[in-house]
């Protein structure tokens, strides 16, 4: 997290750093022991090196780097999801069905929101480089989707076999008919 700006210092740090410069003239109260007056402090703070604000180019590199991380995040989730799916078994239960549903929902919503996801990294210069990143993001989400499809197939919900289409197969009609004669006792 080097690129992130340091958070604003807490109030007590500010208070400590910015001691009231205007000391009340008439004061019988001595400074507490160990309290250094601003005059003394100013000299100390001037010694610390001042941080340089990042250049535009650096910012863009950072943004692309960040975008890459977002793009490969679903792939990182993949092994954990795979183990979860494997563990939940192939039986049709509410738990496994919900897991499978989530497995499908996450990548699809991610792909649909792809522009919004990468909007913070969008600058006139990075947009060219971001296409590649977006494609990778798409691919990783597809991998997650593939895991979902594999799971659904494992549960036998994909109509991939002959038996799934059996109901649409027509029985053969007989062209001839035979009937028992009278008195045959059938």
């Amino acid at each position: 997290m080097m690129t992130a700006l340091p958070p604003p210092p807490p109030q007590w740090v500010l208070d400590l750093a910015a001691t009231p410069t205007t000391k009340p003239k008439i004061s019988s109260i001595p400074d507490p022991p160990g309290f250094t007056t601003a005059k003394q402090q100013r000299g100390a703070s001037a010694k610390t090196p001042q941080r340089k604000p990042p250049t535009q180019e650096e910012m863009e590199t950072l943004k692309v780097k960040k975008a890459w991380e977002v793009a490969i995040a679903p792939a990182k989730q993949l092994p954990m999801n795979a183990i979860g799916m494997y563990m939940s078994g192939s039986s049709l239960q509410i738990f496994s069905i919900m897991m499978v549903f989530m497995l499908f929902k996450t990548p699809i919503t991610a792909v649909l929101n792809i522009q919004r996801t990468f909007l913070p990294f969008e600058t006139p210069n990075t947009s060219g480089r971001l296409i590649q990143v977006k494609l990778v993001f798409l691919a990783t989400n597809c991998a997650a989707l593939a895991l979902g499809i594999w799971k659904v197939n494992q549960m036998g919900l994909l109509p991939t076999t002959r038996s799934d289409w059996l109901a649409w197969e027509e029985p053969r009609t007989n062209l001839e008919l035979a009937v028992p004669g009278l008195g045959i006792g059938i």
Partner: protein, 939 residues
């Protein structure tokens, strides 16, 4: 080792029998425990043991059922089905006074039965000769205990033999052989001797009656005399009566024209002759003699004359000391048919006359009427124009007035009723016992709805909608009645009260059907399956089609609640209304039930000269194919796939989701052939259009005298036989099931591939074994033999099926689930995961009948010859009806009742839950509303 035993110990605690609960049984089924038509000479009232207050009716019926009937309610106390090896025409039942055993004689078999519980006391096989008569001798000869009186038996054969059998053990005490060449007729006994009556033909065509008296102690012939009866007795049937176990046994005969009546007191040579005076109208058709059978009763008897229009009787007295017979009085002529029966009270003899209107009891001593009642016919009687045929009577008479008279009367429609003081107490529809054929038919209204729906299904959307709207407007007529019946229906469905049969009639589940039966006694009977098998109507076929006689009737259900009866002996089919039994024989109504239009060829197959022949329908000369089993085999049975046999899925889905395609051919006939010489049995599955053999199997060491039951359904066949190895001497019963597939490979639709139709005569271009279906079969050992097999039938064929097997030994019908006897069960190994997911278990050669499979539960269903099934409106349920001797009907759900709420579904609880939720909503709604408003104001 010890530890292992210890571990196995809890296993014996697991109940091996998991039957259904007692209160789950007998809700959907009905059963008529029948005995068949009782025989006049083998039916009587008798105390089950000496000193018993109540008496039972014992009968040996024309169907060889020995039964004890409770006269109070007509229920069967016990029954025994006697199985003669030949169809003997004469069977006998005898019981001694104050005895606790009955002696039955059927064919060559004499048996004694305990009167109170029907257990066999002893049995004696008398070889191949038939029994001509059996009597109890009713006297003491000093050596014999009074508890079991001896029986005397007369046997036919080359040398007719009279035997005295010990009443307690059945051992032969003595026997007397008649070598004179006379034809034995009957036995009779008096207090002093046993009389053997025989007859022999003369040159002029008449018969002389010869009476020999035998010593009851050692069987020696004491005396013999011949009566010159040859001028009157032209056939043995002319002898009307011989016997009456009284002090004076009688021999009565008449000439063929019924002009003269001759009576001989057995033991004397004198013959009394009386001229018969025809007091009625029409020719005398029948002369019957009624005499008391008790040894202590007065020597009085009654002669009944019956013409086609009227009947009357004469009472005669015998003077024992003088040896003379005199006519005492006449019982006046009455029109119609009537039945006379004798009863004794102490020594007094009473004659009871039952006609269609009245019940009258006369004393034998004088012509005064002791009791007279008008007959009351109960409301639900199907008696119609039936008249009494014959019966037995028990009377209680005090101071010459009849207190109570009970007569068990057989009516001409086959009903056996008990009349007490003219009132019908119960009726047993014994006509059902001789059922030849039966068919299910639906109520007309249920059928019209199905037709209307069918019309709507074939119209376009708009006109179907209009049609439906019109139908619903039309249905509004029934709304007031529906509202009226609503409280009753609600009470019935919540209170669990019995729903009246009328409401079941209009049930939407299709459980209420009518079964039409055709009997060997020429009657058509309708039963209501919704009302526990109640008889709806009972009509005589000869009243519809005069002079006709049903021999092998074939019944077909037609639309609009009509049934068509065809028979080889009927010139034109009969059509009756299933609801009323009325016949409206219009030629235009007669339909050929064969849908000839949509098929290129229609073949009819018949059995001719031991061959199965297929010919073009309607043209018997154009023989298409003929089939004869292998050398030395004869055709034993034929089973065909039903014409209406819906199959939901054309393939079988395997565990790995591949498909094994079923071989579905509508024209399948299974022929079983047996050979007695080589004791083999073979089955041949034929395509009944082309006559091609699709599958065959042969079994050695088969007991060909036993039943071979077979059935075909869907793409499978099943048959059972008894194997009897001559070398090992073991016997066993086997059930074989074979399933046919298009191809042995999954996902392969066989040589015809995806072609949409199929011709039997031109199947495919491929030749050889590949063109035949792939068959897989498995054999199971079953604990009992099966006499008949049927298959359940549901509306769409989605539910799995059951093989309905009739077990003649345990008098039961079992439904064997088809998935249990799957020929694809893995042999010698545990099923793989994919096989287990198909529900296949490891093959076990022994198939025990699970107690839950018994459709009859604890009841015994006797003599079932056929089981018919029909779908109900619910896919899960199939209606079953079994007939033969007993009539039994039930409903089966092979895949359980998945489309109907169970009996244990708690309707009140459901209603209470809904009501509680409604109340909760009403209570909570204002609270929530207030909270919401408050929430708005506070923010």
């Amino acid at each position: 080792m010890r530890l292992q035993e210890l571990l196995l110990l809890p296993a014996i605690l697991i109940p091996t029998v998991q039957a259904i609960f007692a209160d789950d049984a007998y809700h959907v089924d009905y059963h008529w425990a029948l005995v068949g038509q009782p025989q006049q000479h083998a039916t009587f009232f008798q105390q089950p043991f000496a000193g018993s207050k109540a008496s039972l009716i014992y009968t040996l019926s024309a169907h060889n059922v020995l039964a004890a009937i409770n006269p109070k309610d007509g229920s069967v106390v016990w029954r025994q089905l006697l199985t003669p090896s030949t169809n003997s025409s004469q069977t006998f039942l005898a019981a001694g006074e104050g005895q606790d055993t009955l002696i039955s004689a059927v064919d060559g078999q004499v048996a004694a039965w305990s009167s109170s519980d029907g257990r066999m006391v002893w049995e004696k096989q008398l070889g191949t000769s038939r029994i001509k008569d059996a009597e109890i001798i009713d006297f003491e000869d000093g050596k014999q205990a009074s508890t079991s009186k001896d029986a005397i038996v007369l046997m036919e054969g080359e040398t007719p033999t009279v035997m005295r059998l010990n009443g307690a053990t059945g051992k032969t005490k003595w026997q007397f052989a008649d070598t004179s060449g006379d034809v034995p007729f009957q036995l009779s006994s008096s207090a002093t001797s046993v009389y053997y009556i025989a007859h022999h033909g003369t040159f002029l065509g008449g018969y002389k009656i010869k009476v020999s008296s035998l010593s009851p102690v050692n069987g020696d012939k004491l005396d013999s005399y011949t009566l010159s009866s040859d001028s009157e007795v032209s056939s043995p049937e002319s002898i009307l009566f011989a016997g009456a176990n009284t002090a004076s046994p009688l021999l009565v005969w008449a000439d063929k024209a019924h002009k003269v009546l001759k009576i001989n007191i057995i033991g004397t040579k004198g013959v009394a002759s009386f001229n018969i005076e025809n007091k009625g109208s029409g020719e005398i058709e029948r002369v019957t003699v009624h005499a008391p059978s008790r040894i202590t009763s007065l020597p009085h008897f009654l002669v009944q004359y019956q013409t086609s229009l009227s009947q009357w009787a004469e009472v005669y007295h015998v003077d024992v000391n003088k040896g003379t017979i005199s006519k005492a009085y006449d019982i006046p002529n009455m029109s119609g048919n009537g039945a006379f029966s004798t009863s004794t009270v102490d020594a007094n003899v009473y004659f009871t006359r039952v006609t269609t209107e009245e019940m009258i009891i006369y004393s034998s001593a004088s012509h005064g009427i002791v009791g007279r009642w008008n007959r009351k016919v109960l409301g639900a009687s199907t008696e119609g124009d039936a008249y009494p045929l014959y019966g037995v009577t028990e009377a209680v008479v005090r101071s010459n007035t009849a207190q109570a008279v009970r007569s068990a009367i057989l009516f001409s429609n086959g009903d056996w009723s008990l009349l007490r003081n003219g009132e019908s107490l119960w009726t047993r529809p014994e006509a059902l016992a001789s059922t030849l054929s039966a068919v299910f038919t639906s109520y007309p209204e249920a059928e019209t709805l199905a037709q209307q729906l069918d019309i709507e299904g074939h119209q376009n959307v708009v006109s179907a909608f209009i049609h439906r709207l019109m139908r619903h407007i039309d249905d509004l007529r029934h709304l007031p009645t529906w509202f009226q019946s609503l409280p009753t229906n609600l009470m019935a469905s919540f209170g669990g009260a019995t729903i009246s049969p009328d409401s079941i009639k209009k049930d939407s589940f299709g459980f209420g059907k009518i079964v039409i039966l055709a009997t060997a006694r020429n009657r058509l009977i309708a039963l209501d399956t919704a009302a526990q098998g109640k008889v709806l109507w009972n009509v005589d076929v000869s009243s519809i089609a005069p002079g006709s006689k049903l021999t092998a009737p074939q019944l077909t259900s037609l639309p609009n609640g009509r049934v068509q009866i065809t028979d080889p002996r009927l010139s034109t089919p009969i059509i009756v209304n299933a609801l009323t039994g009325e016949s409206n024989n219009l030629q235009s109504d007669i339909v050929t039930t064969v849908p000839t239009g949509q098929f290129s060829t229609v073949v009819e197959y018949t059995l001719k000269d031991g061959e199965l022949q297929g010919h073009i329908f309607g043209r018997p000369d154009e023989v298409v194919w003929q089939f004869k089993p292998l050398d030395g085999e004869r055709i034993h049975g034929i089973a065909a796939r039903p014409l209406d046999d819906p199959v939901a899925s054309i393939g079988k889905v395997l565990g790995d989701r591949r498909v094994l395609y079923k071989y579905l051919n509508a024209n399948l006939v299974l022929v079983t052939g047996v050979s007695e010489i080589t004791s083999t049995a073979s089955v041949y599955l034929l395509d009944s259009v082309s006559g091609n053999v699709l599958y065959s199997a042969s079994h050695r060491d088969v007991d060909t005298t036993r039943f071979i039951a077979s059935t075909v359904s869907e793409n499978w066949l099943a048959y059972s036989f008894t194997s009897a190895s001559s070398s090992v001497g073991s016997r066993g019963h086997q059930l074989v099931i074979a399933e046919l597939f298009e191809s042995s490979l999954p996902n392969d639709r066989g040589p015809l591939a995806a072609s949409g139709n199929f011709s039997s005569t031109d199947p495919s271009s491929t030749v050889g074994d590949i063109s035949k279906p792939y068959a897989k079969s498995q054999t199971y050992h079953i604990p009992e033999e099966i006499s008949h097999m049927s298959v359940t039938h549901t509306k769409q064929g989605i539910s799995s099926r059951q093989i309905l097997a009739v077990l003649p030994q345990s008098h039961a019908v079992v439904g064997i689930p088809r998935q249990i006897v799957d020929p694809r069960r893995p042999i010698g190994r545990d099923p793989t995961a994919s096989e287990a997911s198909e529900g296949l278990m490891k093959y076990a050669p022994n198939l025990e009948f699970d107690p839950k499979w018994y459709l009859n539960h604890k009841r015994e269903v006797f003599g079932i010859k056929n089981v018919i099934t029909t779908p109900s409106s619910l896919e899960s349920t199939s209606l079953v009806f079994a007939y033969g001797l007993d009539v039994f009907g039930t409903r089966v759900a092979p895949s359980f009742t998945f489309d109907i709420l169970g009996k244990d579904f708690n309707k009140p609880q459901m209603l209470l839950t809904v009501a509680a939720l409604g109340v909760g909503v009403l209570v909570v709604a204002p609270l929530v509303k207030r909270k919401q408003i408050n929430a708005r104001w506070t923010t």
